[in-house]
Assembly symmetry: C2
Homo-oligomer: 255 residues x 2
């Protein structure tokens, strides 16, 4: 008999996040679950790793076939630590999320949720990140359940191509209003006016991260188009940054 | 008359790093230089950004046509802050480094040096990251100068394709022993045994980041091959994570 599937789950909103809990409970319908998630909010940490201090980790809670652990590192640290020390066997899949807020388009590059997925990808494991387009503390993660079941079940049944992971974004809609699921490409976009300058009470400047998301790439299978139309977007992603098309154009730099 | 080139320069080793100083001085041969670099070591921070606290920045030093600033953020923060508040005009190019140690192959994904390059790329600017394959405090950054001049001059003369940035790695060799410069692709590789478990004096476990770099992809234009043969590797990179080849294979997940 085939081994029961094992899921390693993390996120960047922290182990107490409702989004992570929803993902863990839904994955537990398919197999055993080991959670290793940050003990704090680790949003915007990308694929960063902790090199200059050691990490601590602990078991937070056991509930049925789910073990919740936390550590004081980044989402990518969580994947490394979970794989090497807390999973009783090699996971069938690494899952990350459900994130509060979008990781579609270029937001993938800043995302701790997706940093964990990229880390799992580098480890040669199937990996999927889930994000809901809703920052509100009242975000309805239950509306994501049909999507989670479809994607997790689908990837268990038909493995991802080697080297491919998935960036899944779910529109802010009741489950029955979601129109379907679309395979997409990452939309081109930019953040402008990223930092707001303020002055402290003694006259010195400081800057807060803010920004306007500017995207007019809502065509030809872009994830932003699918989401705007009410579909779940699924972008197959890879960790090879090479711009192959540009290689031939750069030969003049060789000596 | 064309405007004098302006370079925005950052790194992840901090504003006091000798590698950054060498890069700034060499770029200043071509135009004006604004440095905005972390005031601390920010290695391993990838493309992370600071969302939960404000940033501080200050002018550290002026030297000829170079202004050195530092801030308490990440390399990506430095690029945003430098572009929006410290550059007197849009830079001709964003440069990052020279990093102590390799950012070839998959190391790009953890690198703060390359995180800054990816941030500049998202801002639509030409950007180049430089790394020297030497972690020693005595690393010889002067041996990098001919490479810096060739790449910076070359990119000024013939602009990079839109959306393309460069990841430049320089072997640990005297300048005269470097065999040349090769356009490469990112080698496939993995880090194994990432974390070492230790026990503190009262018996509790903690984990240090460590790891073994495993790469047997030293063929077909890989950056690791070029470096092993004594060449500088130049990988054209992009910020589109989409695995286009996998899109057609994922259609069964659509509903």
């Amino acid at each position: 008999m085939a081994e029961k599937p094992l899921f390693l789950i993390t996120n960047d909103d922290g182990v107490a996040s409702r989004g992570l809990r929803q993902l863990a409970v839904t994955a537990a319908e398919f197999g055993d679950v080991v959670v290793m998630a940050p003990d704090h909010n680790a949003s915007g940490l990308s694929t960063s790793i902790t090199c200059n201090r050691p990490l601590r980790a602990r078991l937070v809670e056991e509930s049925g076939n789910i073990k919740y652990h936390s550590c004081d590192g980044t989402p990518a640290d969580c994947v490394k630590l979970g794989l090497e020390y807390f999973c009783p066997r090699t996971p069938s899949m690494v899952l990350s999320g459900i994130n509060f807020g979008t990781n579609a388009s270029i937001n993938i590059i800043y995302s701790g949720t997706m940093g964990a997925v990229l880390e799992a990808n580098l480890n040669g494991l199937p990996a999927v990140g889930f994000s809901l387009l809703n920052h509100s503390p009242e975000a309805d993660f239950e509306a994501c359940v049909p999507t989670l079941r479809h994607i997790i079940g689908g990837v268990l049944q038909q493995p991802l191509p080697q080297g491919t992971s998935l960036n899944v974004n779910i529109p802010r809609l009741p489950a029955e209003a979601i129109k379907g699921i679309r395979i997409c490409r990452q939309a081109r976009a930019a953040w402008t006016d990223s930092l707001e300058r303020r002055t402290d009470p003694i006259g010195r400047p400081y800057w807060w991260m803010t920004g306007k998301f500017v995207c007019d790439d809502k065509q030809d299978c872009s994830d932003e188009l699918a989401l705007a139309e009410g579909f779940v977007s699924v972008v197959p992603i890879r960790t090879d940054f090479t711009d192959y098309a540009a290689m031939a154009q750069m030969k003049h730099l060789e000596i």
